[in-house]
């Protein structure tokens, strides 16, 4: 998608947008409707030569051939019906006019082709002495007037038109009060033709009604009228071309232009009368309406003379120009006057410019502004309908455009603007936006107040232009196909997670419970029967490799050795540990050892007492109780046993007892026997206390579940003897059969234990086979289904 940069803020916009999304300025100028300037000019492009004479409404009043030229004799009209409505002072004024001699033939302003009188020309004449008191007072007061409010300026633009219209001035000029106007007209007539090309001055017979009428026509008619504008002469050279426009214009429109001539008392000229005959009826009616309004112009003129001082000043400075187009017949008196005499609506700065400034062809923003104007819009109309700030811009173009048009060129000379200027066109954008509401407001005139009868003076809406509705943007999320596919996948995943999953069947749970009961029953029977019956049919255990080593350690102890026994097993496994440790302790007791009992488990001391009580010949021992601190406590005990375990379980100093006399370090013990069911506990003793044993052997009686973790320490030599579980105890008991004589605890358990192991092996085998069969069936059924 191409981007179009905003001429106002410079931000990129989509070329589909008509207005900037950031500042609201129009991206595509309304000038695009012009037939010769439809494509926008972008920066860098070569500027296109543009005929500013195509500006419709800006030039039309000056160049319309239908306009009544200076010197035209106003047509007589029956205004008897309106006589009662006129105020008394106006009737008096008319009486004075009737007494004045006929107006002198007006002379158009030939100075530089400028239709407006210069300051010197418009200076009041000494004939002011003949003016009535009220008028002289106005003129005197007008000289002192300096500042005029804007709204009055707009009125002033329209009010002083009456003296300028030839049809109106004819009866007024001879009057004593307006003889200065007559002199001005006479001076104008005496001056040479303003057009350099030898174009004759505006004929005084020309009436301004047609041009004024065209201003009030809708745009389509204005456009139609402005189409031949480039071929027409300049606005001030309208006189020689008066015969042509009726041929180029539609008949009805030509009739509109020629009809005011009928309304005036002056007989129409040949070229004008011809198209007027071809006018349609409805247009003839319009002309008739304008005819009725035309005679009122002189009457309305008088109140303007009585109007504020600025009006008198204006009149003295701006006498009517003969080459100016006449006021439109259909327009209101105020509007027609403003159109007829743009020189009168000029502000002071423009009048000063007229005095000294020569026409320049230098392109200016005003010229650019005119180029941006739609064809058919007259300059006077813009001054009349546009805001003040816009009217301030307008005269610059006017003062430079009019002389050129009056001299040789029928139109304003095309200017070559830099491309960046044409691309930016800030004025154009503003006017393009302000044009639409102005056209709408043009139809609405103020009803009351000082602006009564005026239209377009005040904007209907605050601000520069009409309030624009903010650009509407779509709130729909734009997603690509891939994003939509991913979103759909995510939605499916979420939906699948939220779906409830059926629970497994209850039958499977029942079968599990039944199987568990069956297994439990079989185990109880297998284990209980040997115990109940006392059958000892299972042969002895196999001697493990560590058995002989362990027995050798115990046999190698000197008599009455000090042995430290660690009871670190839980009550749940006390049956196994007691069964495994009984043969070893029984064997040890043969040496009449001095036993010290210690435990890192809180239940260890009480289990130790319980165990020692079951021994056939209980020895004397010192129960050091519970050793707190885990590995740190073991390490502390290994470093300093008396400090770590000061008191016995009964609370007496342990190291002062005869059993532990002479023992100050861990290495002072002849052997350390550790009974544990936890591999971590056994490792802790190996790691923390093994380095402090020196030559004292560490023998471990462990549970069968701890064997895989403790045996490597035996293989590495960190522990010297090892008895594992019931099997190890049974083997140790078997090895010392002479001592125990077959009455040992392990022997009593051994058959039941063997039966339980055998049953477990059978169950593992049966379970494995059943699982294999089930898996085979499943694969077979799947294979059959696949086949």
């Amino acid at each position: 998608m191409a981007e179009l940069r905003c001429p106002m803020c410079g931000k990129p916009n989509s070329d589909e947008l008509k207005k900037c999304a950031f500042c609201g300025a129009r991206l595509k100028p309304l000038l695009a409707s012009s037939p010769d300037n439809r494509s926008p000019i972008h920066p860098g492009e070569e500027p296109v030569e543009q005929r500013t004479s195509e500006v419709k409404r800006g030039i039309a009043p000056f160049g319309e051939p239908e306009s009544i030229q200076a010197g035209d004799v106003p047509t007589g009209e029956n205004i008897a019906d309106l006589e009662p409505a006129l105020p008394s002072w106006l009737r008096d004024l008319r009486d004075q006019d009737s007494q004045t001699p006929p107006a002198q033939p007006e002379k158009p302003f030939a100075d530089e082709g400028w239709p407006f009188p210069t300051g010197a020309e418009s200076a009041p004449q000494p004939a002011d002495a003949k003016l009535p008191d009220w008028l002289s007072g106005l003129e005197a007061g007008a000289k002192e007037e300096e500042e005029v409010p804007d709204w009055l300026a707009s009125i002033r633009d329209k009010s002083p038109i009456q003296p300028g219209t030839p049809a109106e001035e004819e009866p007024i000029a001879p009057s004593e009060g307006t003889d200065w106007l007559g002199r001005l007209r006479q001076e104008e007539k005496e001056k040479p033709a303003p057009t350099a090309g030898g174009a004759p001055p505006f004929p005084p017979e020309s009436t301004p009604t047609a041009s004024a009428l065209l201003e009030d026509l809708p745009d389509w008619s204005s456009d139609r009228k402005s189409e031949p504008a480039p071929d027409k002469p300049g606005p001030i050279q309208a006189a020689p071309d008066e015969a042509k426009p009726p041929e180029e214009l539609p008949t009805w429109l030509a009739g509109l232009q020629g009809e005011p001539e009928k309304d005036t008392a002056v007989p129409p000229t040949g070229p004008k009368s011809a198209p007027s005959e071809e006018l349609p009826d409805w247009l003839m009616k319009l002309q008739a309406e304008s005819k009725t309004l035309t005679p009122e112009f002189p009457r309305i003129d008088v109140p303007f003379e009585e109007s504020p001082d600025w009006l008198a000043k204006f009149e003295t400075k701006a006498p009517p120009a003969p080459e100016e187009p006449a006021a439109p017949a259909f327009a209101s008196p105020m509007e027609s006057k403003s159109v007829e005499e743009p020189g009168k609506i000029m502000p002071d700065w423009l009048a000063e410019f007229e005095e000294g400034a020569a026409p320049a062809e230098v392109p200016s923003p005003a010229g650019l502004e005119e180029a941006a104007l739609p064809a058919g819009e007259s300059e006077a109309n813009l001054l009349m309908e546009t805001p003040d700030w816009l009217s301030m811009l307008k005269p610059e173009g006017g003062e430079k455009k009019a002389p050129a048009g009056a001299a040789e060129k029928p139109e304003i000379a095309p200017v070559e603007l830099p491309s960046w200027v044409q691309a930016l066109r800030p004025v154009e954008a503003v006017m393009a936006e302000s044009k639409a509401p102005q056209e709408e407001e043009k139809e609405e005139a103020a009803i009351g107040g000082p602006l009564a009868g005026l239209s377009g003076v005040l904007p209907l809406s605050p601000g520069l232009g009409a309030l624009r509705k903010p650009q509407a943007y779509s709130t729909n999320l734009q997603m690509t196909e891939g994003q939509q596919r991913h979103a759909a996948s995510l939605e499916r995943l979420v939906a699948a997670e939220s779906e409830p999953r059926p629970l497994s069947g209850q039958t499977r749970l029942r079968s599990t419970n039944l199987l568990r009961w069956i297994i439990a029953l079989v185990l109880i029977l297998a284990v209980g029967l040997p115990l109940a019956t006392g059958i000892q049919t299972v042969p002895g255990a196999v001697y493990p490799s560590e058995l002989s080593t362990t027995r050798g350690l115990i046999n190698g102890l000197r008599a009455n050795p000090s042995v430290l026994m660690i009871f670190d097993y839980e009550p749940a496994l006390s049956g196994e540990l007691e069964a495994a440790a009984s043969p070893v302790i029984e064997h040890l007791l043969l040496k009449s050892p001095r036993l010290a009992i210690l435990s890192t488990s809180p239940t260890g001391p009480i289990l130790a007492d319980s165990f020692m009580k079951r021994i056939t010949t209980p020895p004397e021992y010192v129960n050091l109780g519970y050793l707190a601190g885990g590995p740190a406590g073991v390490l502390g005990f290994a470093e300093d046993p008396p400090a770590a375990a000061t008191y016995t379980l009964e609370g007496v100093p342990a190291w002062q007892t005869p059993t532990l006399q002479g023992i100050q370090a861990l290495s002072d013990f002849a052997a350390v026997l550790v009974l544990t069911d936890n591999p971590d506990t056994g490792r802790t003793w190996i790691e923390q206390a093994g380095l402090y044993l020196n030559t004292a052997p560490m023998i471990m009686v462990i549970s069968a579940q701890a064997e895989p973790m403790i045996r490597p320490y035996y293989d590495s030599g960190q522990i010297k003897g090892l008895v594992t579980g019931l099997a190890g105890g049974k083997a140790y008991e078997q090895a010392n059969e002479q001592v125990f004589q077959g009455a040992g605890l392990t022997r009593r358990y051994w058959d039941a234990f063997s039966a339980g192991l055998f049953l477990a092996e059978v169950m593992i085998l049966v379970g494995g086979l059943s699982g294999a069969i089930v898996a085979w069936r499943v694969r077979r059924s799947k294979a059959e289904e696949g086949a």
Binding site: Y626, A628, A632, E687, S703, A704, P708, P712, Y749
Partner: protein
């Protein structure tokens, strides 16, 4: 103990009842089993608290603090202070005050554990694995080599099994073929180890069952 009541008899009755309550788990989780569990937990906790007071706090903290000399009292203030700070962990508001004591405990425990593991397990076990190839230690050469090779292969392949690095390829992460094979062998050794552990646990449990059934039968037989 009052006359006429044998403590061993009471103990035997209680043991018998609670043994049956625990065995009731065969029919599933039931209140009897829960009752036995709750009693065991309560008794164990109470016994542990009594042991901690009688064998740790009183003899090692309060006795030196009360009856000890100035040095013992001063030294006893350190564990007392750390203990009090550790009790601050009970309240969320004062939990941060227990951080120093907790940090001391964790730090000391970690230092002891790491030191013991390095000096008592890692280095000795490494040395033992190397010494397996020492043919002078005794036994036949073939047996020593076979045993040492099994240990070596088992150790290496087990370590390789826990090597999870893979090479990034367009088709996805790809493990080296040799590593994959060695990891599979290590998986076999790990499976054997777990089997041995299960056998040891089963043997221990079976021994416990035998002992309990023997007790039950003995208790019942005492009344027959």
């Amino acid at each position: 103990m009052p006359n006429g009541i044998n403590l061993d008899f009471v103990t035997a009755i209680v043991s018998f009842i609670f043994t049956l309550l625990v065995l009731s788990y065969l029919v599933g989780d039931n209140p009897l089993f829960r009752l036995a569990i709750y009693v065991f937990i309560g008794v164990s906790a109470g016994y542990a608290a009594a042991v901690a007071w009688h064998q740790v706090l009183w003899p090692k903290l309060f006795m030196p603090l009360i009856y000890g000399d100035m040095q013992e009292r001063t030294l006893s203030l350190v564990p007392l202070l750390l203990g009090i700070l550790l009790l601050m962990k009970l309240s969320p508001r004062t939990a941060q005050l227990g951080n120093p004591a907790m940090a001391f405990m964790v730090g000391a425990g970690a230092a002891v554990a790491v030191g013991g593991a390095v000096l008592g397990t890692l280095l000795p076990q490494t040395r033992a694995s190397i010494n397996l190839f020492d043919l002078k230690t005794g036994g036949s050469v073939s047996e020593r080599i076979f045993e040492a090779s099994i240990i070596l292969i088992g150790t290496l392949t087990t370590l390789v099994y826990f090597h999870f690095s893979a090479k990034a390829t367009p088709s996805g992460p790809q493990v080296n073929r040799l590593v994959d094979i060695l990891g599979g062998i290590g998986q076999v050794f790990i499976a054997i180890t777990f089997g041995v552990l299960f056998a040891g646990i089963y043997a221990a449990a079976m021994t416990a069952l035998v002992e309990r059934l023997s007790f039950l039968w003995s208790f019942i037989a005492s009344f027959l």
